[in-house]
């Protein structure tokens, strides 16, 4: 009897072990924080509830060091099975990513049923590097114009007719400055150096210009268009529409700012501030309406040799599932899902997020207004060059001419290193 009991127990243990080994555990690391992290956690929790054979362990919150950590995890043969990479970081990170069309487990796109027709074409097209596909787009995010309806009314403006071009924008800014106590405009969220550079980018790109030549051999921005963009940015301070060190996020949420150029992630902050606000497309400041933007993409980092094929396939299928359910990414994260069916899901279209801001963001994306920042292997260093020079112009330490010349010289040194 005793030996029978033992045998049953051993058998049960073996069955349990067999069951446990059949389950695939995927680690997923993201750079999301705040509302984005909560939205992704919601999606992953739903994934885990819907699957018994595959479970995802989610790690989030590291933004500043995320790419270095991902790279080092690959070096240490300890990379997560799913990661997130911005489109513009692809040249820098491709070496640490699995080519989805040519992985050790074969073509994962075919295996998981991921195809181009399921996604916004521009976002999908940006996911290839040197002939291989590394990225599956999750979303796109960009800047737009948030405005305070109460301040518009106090300034004698129509809150249902936000500015659409430079003349209307300037007229609105002057009216707010002259008729209210509020700041009129902030062109760059919280005014951090990298945000000010983004403002200069969209003003520059709006003149149909590019920062570098096609082969990234030299800088091309030290020209009249660069100067005009720079002078327009500093006119915010020169026209007393705002102060040089102003934080647009704080000013807007305190009800002290009329118009703020900020990203779609501002939705929840603006809503929770209890303001009566509106959202509009980026005005056409120069020749065409352009906005700064980027995309998050799901990736499979390089896995250690000997990783079973099932793990690759499970990761690819999880990526597909997350995108199929990314309407929650729009509703709770405030981003525009790249996956067509998620973007047109009724839940998303009925949500406040969509009604208030995402519908307009989607129009901007569909109108081709989105312009990616620098996409180059040295992008972080090149972006720093713009950050420090544009910030110094904005706070009055440098002239536009000196800043552009300095930035051009530094950028060329990096490109020709």
């Amino acid at each position: 009897m005793n030996s029978l009991k033992k045998a049953v127990l051993v058998l049960a243990a073996l069955l349990l072990l067999a069951g446990a080994s059949a389950q695939i555990n995927l680690n997923m690391n993201t750079l999301f924080h705040s509302g984005d992290a909560q939205a992704m956690e919601r999606i992953v929790t739903a994934f885990n509830e819907a699957h018994t054979d595959v479970q995802i362990t989610l790690t989030q919150g590291q933004w500043a060091d995320y790419y270095a950590q991902l790279y080092n995890a690959v070096v240490a043969n300890d990379a997560p099975q799913i990661g997130v990479v911005h489109t513009t970081n692809l040249p820098q990170m491709a070496i640490a990513l699995t080519p989805l069309n040519d992985s050790p487990a074969g073509d994962l796109l075919d295996a998981a049923g991921i195809s181009a027709d399921q996604y916004i074409a521009d976002l999908w097209d940006a996911g290839e590097f040197e002939g291989n596909r590394y990225l599956v787009p999750l979303d796109t995010h960009m800047f737009g114009l948030w405005y305070n309806r109460d301040i518009f009314e106090a300034a004698g403006l129509d809150p249902d007719s936000p500015p659409t071009n430079r003349e209307e924008f300037e007229a609105a800014a002057n009216a707010i400055r002259d008729n209210t106590d509020a700041y009129a405009v902030h062109m760059a969220e919280d005014g951090l150096a990298r945000k000010l550079a983004r403002a200069w980018y969209y003003l520059y790109w709006g003149q149909d210009q590019e920062l570098f030549d096609a082969g990234f051999t030299q800088a091309t921005f030290n020209n009249d268009a660069g100067l005009a963009a720079c002078e327009y940015l500093t006119s915010v301070v020169d026209n007393s529409w705002n102060i040089a060190a102003g934080d647009g996020f704080r000013q807007f949420t305190a009800g002290d700012l009329g118009m703020l150029v900020a990203g779609n992630w501002f939705y929840w902050t603006a809503t929770e501030a209890g303001l009566d606000y509106g959202f509009a497309m980026m005005p056409e400041f120069f020749d065409s309406a352009v906005t700064w933007g980027n995309s998050h993409n799901l990736v499979i980092p390089v896995q250690p040799a000997g990783t079973p094929d099932e793990v690759y396939i499970a990761a690819a299928e999880a990526i597909r599932w997350i995108n199929e359910n990314s309407d929650d990414w729009g509703i709770y994260g405030g981003h525009i899902p790249a996956y067509n069916e998620a973007r047109t899901s009724q839940d998303l279209l009925d949500s406040d997020t969509w009604q208030v801001s995402l519908a307009t963001f989607a129009q901007m994306a569909e109108a081709g207004m989105l312009h990616y920042p620098i996409t180059h292997v040295d992008a972080p260093e090149l972006e720093d060059v713009f950050n420090v020079h544009i910030e110094q112009v904005y706070n009055g330490s440098l002239t536009c001419q000196a800043a552009l010349a300095g930035a051009e010289s530094e950028a060329n040194r990096i490109l020709n290193r």
């Binding site: 790419y67 790279y71 070096v75 070496i95 951090l192 150096a193 102060i243 020079h389 910030e391 330490s397």
Partner: protein
């Protein structure tokens, strides 16, 4: 004779065993990283694409890069302002508390020490808020006092490093105060009473008796403050991200960006090694000029 020798050997082994855990930790977490960091600094370090031995070229690149010299200058400026603030205020608070008797003294001491308990991010956010040009209470107070054009301190190339140094002084001087308080309590009352009988005033007692007698505590505070000043990162990262422009980009931030943003690990390791050398030199100089021993421990005839 042999029994005596074996007893001595056993004592030595016991001593070695006592220090062995520390030595192992020291070798693993200090000596080895320094050696390995120097090794990396001789390479164009890229484990995935393949590393290439470049000798001292990373150092040459740094020495010819104005950004490196700017970061070095900013680090020295920060150290030159923050070290006297931290040590000076720590000493002043300690002496004032030591010489005073009033109700609530413990509360004052706890209040002065309290900032040290806070995380660097909290300190940085508090000070960033205090000097916010729109909503900062410090800016508001300065305007009430008549300085209508008070600058946006963190957005001003001349003010930014001093302001971060002041915030650091506020953060760290409380801990130094506790160190000095302990040292002051060790001074025999009889010496101070003798000085009183000889007619010494407060300043004379401070400069001729108190400071020489707490020299080890001062040395400890200076070395500790110098190490934290030369490796400053958190305050700068949270308060300014090195800006405006590169006005507050210190060596540790430059290193961090080289390594973690630009993936130029070889050059980052070179900056790290140079920073290590800089701190080593400063520490040796501090020991040389101040000495390990207080006046208590000095041997007759000045032999040390």
């Amino acid at each position: 004779m042999s029994t005596q020798r074996s007893r001595r050997a056993r004592r030595q082994i016991t001593g070695i065993l006592y220090v062995l855990p520390f030595v192992l930790v020291w070798l693993t977490f200090l000596v080895w990283p320094v050696i390995y960091g120097f090794y990396i600094s001789l390479w164009r370090w890229d484990p995935l694409r393949g590393s290439e031995f470049v000798g001292l070229r990373n150092y040459q690149n740094l020495f010819s890069d104005p950004r490196f010299w700017n970061a070095t200058w900013n680090t020295l400026e920060f150290a030159a302002i923050s070290i006297p603030l931290i040590v000076g205020f720590g000493l002043i608070f300690a002496v004032m508390l030591h010489n005073s008797r009033f109700r609530g003294k413990a509360f004052v001491e706890a209040s002065l020490f309290f900032p040290y308990l806070l995380n660097v991010s909290i300190i940085s956010l508090i000070w960033a808020w205090l000097v916010d040009p729109d909503y900062g209470i410090l800016i508001h107070a300065l305007r009430l006092l008549g300085w209508q054009e008070a600058p946006a301190f963190l957005n001003h190339p001349l003010w930014v490093i001093p302001l971060i140094a002041i915030a650091t002084g506020w953060w760290l001087s409380g801990y130094r105060m506790v160190v000095f308080r302990a040292a002051l309590k060790d001074i025999p009352q009889s010496i101070l009473e003798s000085a009183d009988i000889d007619g010494a005033n407060g300043w004379t007692k401070l400069t001729r008796i108190v400071i020489p007698l707490i020299k080890p505590a001062i040395l400890f505070s200076i070395v500790l403050s110098a190490l934290s000043a030369f490796s400053v990162l958190g305050q700068v990262l949270v308060m300014t991200e090195g800006g405006p422009g590169r006005s507050s980009e210190v060596l540790a931030l430059y290193l961090y960006r080289l390594g973690f943003h630009y993936f130029r690990m070889g050059e980052a390791a070179a900056v790290g090694f140079l920073l290590f050398l800089l701190m080593l030199v400063v520490t040796i100089l501090a020991f040389r000029f101040l000495g390990f021993e207080s006046e208590f421990e000095r041997k007759p005839g000045g032999a040390r």
